[in-house]
C-alpha cells in the first residue's frame, strides 16, 4: 500500500546530471589546459632551437680573409672550406664579412694575427705588409694557407691553387683552336692579369703559352702576346681598366685571355657594348651562369674552370694537418677544366633537367 502511494506521487526517477556536467566540464577544461601547456612548450621550444642553430662548439678557430670576398669565386671557396672545417670540428670565420669592406685584406690579416687564431686562409695580393703579417703569424705558430695567388716571399705554410704554367698551356690550347682556320700570323693576344699578381706568375702564364705554341707551330709563327695588368685597387677600377682597352687601343686584340672571373665578365660585357662579338674572342676564367650563358651564345669562346670547392676544402685540410703535425704540403694543386660551347650546352641542359625534376 505504502509503495503504491509512493509510486503515485513519484513515478519517474529523477536522474541528476550535475555530476556528469561537472566531470565533463572538468575533463574539457583540463584537456584545454594541457593543450595550452603543450602549445607554450612548442613555442618556447622553437625559440631554443633557433638559438641552438647558431651555437656551435669548435676546437679550432680559423679565419678566411679574401680581398674580394664578395666574388662568387671567393664565396664558393669559403662555403666549401666552411663545410670542411665543420667536419674537423673547427670554425672558419669570414673575417671581412663581419668587419666590413673598409678593412683591407692586409688589415684583416693583422687583426687575425692579433686575435691569435689557430689558422688563416688568405686569398689576395702579395704586398709587403701582407708578407710581414704572414711572417708574423707563422712566427707565432699560426698556420697560414694562401689560395689562388701565391705569396711566395712569405713564410706561408701552404699554397692551394692552380698551376699557372698549366693554365698558360690551357690558354694556348684555346688559342690554337681559335686560329685553326685563320692561322696565327697576324693575330694579337691580350692576357689580362691582376696588378697584384706576382711578376713570376704572370710571366709563367705567358711562358706556358709561348712554349706550347712554339712546340706546335714553331717559333716563327708565334702571335703577339701582350700582358695587361688590370688595376684592381678599388671595386670599379677593373671594369674601367678593361673598357679603356676598348677605347684607347688602336688595334684591338683578336683574343682576350682573362685570368679571373671579374675580368671575364667585364670583357664579355664590353664586347657586347662595343659590338665586337665575333671579332674579339674571349677565353675566360671561372664558371658561373652568366659565363655559361655567354659561352652558349658564343660571345665567350671558352673558359677555364677551376674546382673552387676543392680549393676551399684543401685549404682547411692543410691547416688541420699543420695544427696536428706541425707541417703540411707547401703546395696543393687544384684541377682545371676547359668549358667550351658544347660542354657549356651540356651543363646548361643538365641544370635545366635537374630544375625540371
Amino acid at each position: 500500500m505504502q509503495r503504491d502511494k509512493e509510486g503515485k506521487n513519484a513515478k519517474k526517477k529523477y536522474f541528476n546530471k550535475s555530476f556528469v556536467f561537472l566531470v565533463a566540464g572538468t575533463v574539457i577544461m583540463i584537456a584545454a589546459s594541457f593543450a595550452t601547456g603543450i602549445m607554450f612548450k612548442v613555442i618556447t621550444g622553437n625559440m631554443q632551437n633557433i638559438e641552438q642553430e647558431y651555437t656551435l662548439d669548435y676546437d679550432k678557430h680559423y679565419a678566411f680573409i679574401a680581398e674580394d670576398s664578395e666574388s662568387e669565386f671567393c664565396k664558393e671557396a669559403f662555403a666549401a672550406a666552411y663545410a670542411q672545417a665543420r667536419e674537423y670540428n673547427a670554425y672558419l670565420e669570414d673575417l671581412g664579412a663581419a668587419l666590413g669592406s673598409e678593412y683591407s685584406a692586409e688589415d684583416l690579416l693583422r687583426i687575425a694575427v692579433n686575435s691569435k687564431l689557430d689558422g688563416i686562409v688568405y686569398m689576395g695580393g702579395a704586398g709587403e705588409r701582407v708578407v710581414e703579417y704572414i711572417d708574423r703569424a707563422a712566427d707565432e705558430g699560426i698556420g697560414v694557407v694562401v689560395l689562388q695567388n701565391d705569396v711566395e716571399a712569405s713564410k706561408r705554410h701552404c699554397y692551394v691553387g692552380i698551376n699557372y704554367y698549366e693554365l698558360g698551356q690551357m690558354y694556348a690550347l684555346q688559342i690554337e683552336k681559335l686560329t685553326e682556320k685563320t692561322g696565327m700570323g697576324d693575330i694579337s693576344i691580350d692576357v689580362l692579369v691582376d696588378e697584384d699578381m706576382a711578376e713570376g706568375t704572370s710571366n709563367l702564364i705567358i711562358m706556358a703559352i709561348e712554349d706550347y705554341l712554339t712546340e706546335k707551330n714553331g717559333e716563327d709563327k708565334l702571335p703577339e702576346i701582350v700582358l695587361t695588368k688590370i688595376d684592381a685597387e678599388d671595386i670599379f677600377s677593373a671594369e674601367e681598366s678593361i673598357r679603356n682597352i676598348f677605347l684607347v687601343k688602336e688595334k684591338l686584340p683578336d683574343i682576350m685571355l682573362c685570368a679571373n672571373s671579374v675580368y671575364t665578365r667585364c670583357a664579355y660585357q664590353a664586347v657586347i657594348d662595343y659590338n665586337l662579338v665575333g671579332e674579339i674572342q674571349i677565353v675566360g676564367f671561372f664558371v658561373n651562369d652568366t659565363i655559361l650563358d655567354a659561352i652558349d651564345k658564343e660571345v665567350i669562346y671558352s673558359t677555364i674552370s677551376i674546382d673552387t670547392q676543392e680549393m676551399g676544402r684543401s685549404s682547411i685540410k692543410a691547416l688541420q694537418e699543420y695544427n696536428s703535425m706541425g707541417y703540411t704540403n707547401s703546395y696543393l694543386p687544384v684541377e682545371m677544366e676547359i668549358i667550351d660551347n658544347s660542354k657549356a650546352h651540356q651543363i646548361i641542359n643538365e641544370k635545366n633537367n635537374r630544375e625540371q625534376e
Binding site: F19, T26, M29, T36, E53
Partner: protein, 497 residues
C-alpha cells in the same frame, strides 16, 4: 571507482556540491592563469635580457676609450693622476672583458668575442709596455709601442663595434622571435581563458539547473497542493542531499495528507449516517409516543354515542341538554380530529371554551372563566391539545377544592417574536418543588392517564410535544406564589416555527 565517486557526489550536501562545482573550474582557471603568467613572464625576462649584451659591449668600448685616453694623457703629462686613471681604466677594461660571455649568442658572435679577448690581451700588454717605457724614459720605445697600441686600439674598437652590430642583428632577430612568440602566447592565453570561461559558465549553469530542477518541480507541486490538488506527481529523487530529503519528505507529507483526507471523509460519512439514523430513530420514537398517547384515548365510541344523545335530546326538545351534548360531542370530535395534527390557537381556545362549559354544567357554574385574546395570534399554529390539559389541571388541582369561587383566566398575546398563552387560576397554588418536578419531567403532572376524569393527556406530554414542535427547550413556565395564591402556566411558542 567512478561509481564510488558518483555515489559520494549524490550523497553529499548541496553546499558541498555547489562549492565543488565552483571550486574546480575556478582552481583550473587559476592554475592556467598562473601557468600562463609564469610563461609570459619568463619570455618578457628573456626579452629584457636580449639587449644586455649590447649594453655590456658599449660599456667595454667606453672602458677602452677611457683606457686609451688615460694612457695618452699619462704619456703627455706623466702625471700621477693620469697614471692612476690608467690603472683604474686598465682594471675596469679587464673586468669588462671578464664579464663578456657570449657563448650562448652563436658561433659567429662567440668567435668575434674570442678575437676581441685575444686582441685585448695584446693591446693591454702593449699599453703596459708603453707605460713602462714612459716611466723608464725610453722615448723611442714608448713612441713605437704607442703607435702599435693606437693600431690595436683602432682594430679593437672596430671589432667591438662589429661584434656589437652583429649582436644587435642577432638580438633584433631574437627580439622579433620573442615578440611574435609573445604575441602567440597572448592570443593563446586569451583564447584559452575565453574558452575555459565559457565552459565554466556552461558547467555552472548546467549544474545549477540540474540541481535546482528538483526544487522547481517541488515548488510546482507545492503550488498545486496549495491550489487544492493533492494528486501531484513528483519525480523520485535518490540523492541524499537536502533537496532529495526535502523532496522525499514532501512526497511523504503528501501521502500522509491524502491518507488523512481519506480518513476524515470516511469518518464524516459515518457520522452523517449515524445522525440520519438518530433522527429517524427520534422521529420514530415521537411517532410511537404520539401513537401511544393517542392509544390512551379512544373517544370514537363515546363521540358516536354523544351524537345519538344529541339527536335524542333534540327530538325531545330539551335545548340545554342538546347544547350540552353538542359541546361534549364537539369536545371529543376535536380530540379525535386534531390529536394527530397541529391546530390554530383559535381552535385551542374554542376547545377550552367547550371544556369550561361542560364543567360548568357538571358543577353548576362554579368556575368563572375569562379570556383576553390578541386576535393577531389566533391563526398561529400550535400542537393540538395543549391548552385543555392545562385548564384541566387548573380545575382539578387548583380550584376544585377551594371554598371560594374559582377563576380561570386565559390570555393570548405576542411579545418579542413569541406568542404567549397564559392560563391562570386562583386555586391552591403549587410549591416550587412541585413546579420543579413538573418542569424536569420527574412528575407527569396530576392529570395523568390514571386520573379517571382526565382526557388522558398529562402536562409532561404537553411540554414534550411543544418542545418537539418548536425545537426549543424553553416552552413553558409555571408561576405560583405559594399556597392559595393560584398558579399561572405560560406557554411560549415562536411566531414562526
Amino acid at each position: 571507482m567512478a561509481g564510488v565517486i558518483r555515489k559520494k557526489w549524490d550523497n553529499s550536501s548541496v553546499r558541498t556540491k555547489l562549492t565543488t562545482a565552483f571550486i574546480i573550474p575556478i582552481t583550473l582557471m587559476f592554475a592556467v592563469n598562473i601557468y600562463m603568467y609564469i610563461g609570459v613572464n619568463t619570455m618578457i625576462e628573456r626579452v629584457d635580457e636580449v639587449y644586455i649584451a649590447n649594453i655590456s659591449l658599449n660599456d667595454l668600448s667606453n672602458d677602452l676609450v677611457f683606457l686609451q685616453n688615460s694612457m695618452k694623457e699619462y704619456l703627455e703629462s706623466k702625471g700621477s693622476n693620469a697614471l692612476n686613471d690608467y690603472y683604474k681604466a686598465d682594471q675596469e677594461f679587464r673586468d669588462g672583458l671578464e664579464l663578456l660571455d657570449l657563448k650562448s649568442s652563436g658561433t659567429a658572435v662567440y668567435a668575434m668575442q674570442e678575437n676581441i679577448k685575444h686582441q685585448s690581451e695584446n693591446y693591454l700588454q702593449v699599453a703596459a709596455e708603453t707605460i713602462t717605457a714612459k716611466r723608464g724614459r725610453n722615448v723611442e720605445k714608448y713612441k713605437a709601442t704607442y703607435e702599435e697600441s693606437v693600431q690595436l686600439y683602432t682594430d679593437l674598437q672596430t671589432c667591438i663595434n662589429a661584434l656589437n652590430n652583429e649582436q644587435f642583428k642577432k638580438n633584433t632577430s631574437d627580439y622579433n622571435v620573442l615578440l611574435s612568440s609573445l604575441r602567440y602566447m597572448e592570443i593563446i592565453t586569451m583564447v584559452i581563458l575565453f574558452f575555459i570561461g565559457v565552459v565554466n559558465i556552461i558547467v555552472v549553469i548546467l549544474i545549477t539547473k540540474s540541481m535546482t530542477y528538483p526544487l522547481i518541480d517541488l515548488s510546482r507541486a507545492a503550488n498545486e497542493v496549495a491550489a487544492g490538488n493533492f494528486d501531484v506527481e513528483l519525480e523520485r529523487m535518490d540523492s541524499r542531499d537536502e533537496i532529495g530529503i526535502v523532496s522525499r519528505a514532501f512526497t511523504q507529507m503528501l501521502q500522509s495528507i491524502q491518507r488523512y483526507i481519506a480518513e476524515i471523509k470516511e469518518s464524516v460519512l459515518r457520522e452523517s449516517m449515524l445522525k440520519e439514523h438518530e433522527l429517524v430513530m427520534e422521529n420514530r420514537m415521537k411517532e410511537v409516543q404520539l401513537k401511544s398517547l393517542q392509544a390512551q384515548i379512544n373517544p370514537h365510541f363515546l363521540f358516536n354515542t354523544l351524537n345519538a344523545g344529541e339527536q335524542l335530546a333534540m327530538i325531545e326538545g330539551a335545548e340545554k341538554t342538546t347544547e350540552f351534548i353538542e359541546n361534549m360531542a364537539d369536545f371529543f370530535r376535536y380530540n379525535i380530529k386534531k390529536i394527530n395534527n397541529d391546530s390554530s390557537i383559535a381552535e385551542e381556545i374554542s376547545l377550552v371554551d367547550k371544556y369550561i362549559y361542560i364543567l360548568n354544567v357538571r358543577f353548576t357554574g362554579e368556575i368563572r372563566y375569562s379570556k383576553d385574546i390578541d386576535e393577531d395570534v389566533t391563526e398561529i399554529r400550535v400542537p393540538s391539545m395543549i391548552l385543555q390539559p392545562i385548564v384541566e389541571n387548573a380545575v382539578n388541582h387548583g380550584i376544585r377544592d377551594i371554598e371560594r369561587e374559582g377563576h380561570i383566566d386565559l390570555k393570548a398575546y405576542k411579545d418579542n417574536g413569541y406568542v404567549f398563552l397564559s392560563i391562570s387560576d386562583n386555586g391552591t397554588g403549587m410549591s416550587s418543588e412541585q413546579i420543579e418536578k413538573i418542569m424536569s419531567g420527574e412528575s407527569p403532572g396530576e392529570s395523568s392517564p390514571e386520573h379517571t376524569e382526565s382526557n388522558g393527556i398529562g402536562l409532561q406530554n404537553v411540554i414534550e410535544r411543544l418542545q418537539i414542535f418548536t425545537g426549543q427547550k424553553d416552552v413553558m413556565e409555571i408561576f405560583s406564589e405559594g399556597k392559595d395564591k393560584g398558579t399561572r402556566f405560560v406557554i411560549k411558542v415562536p411566531l414562526h416555527v
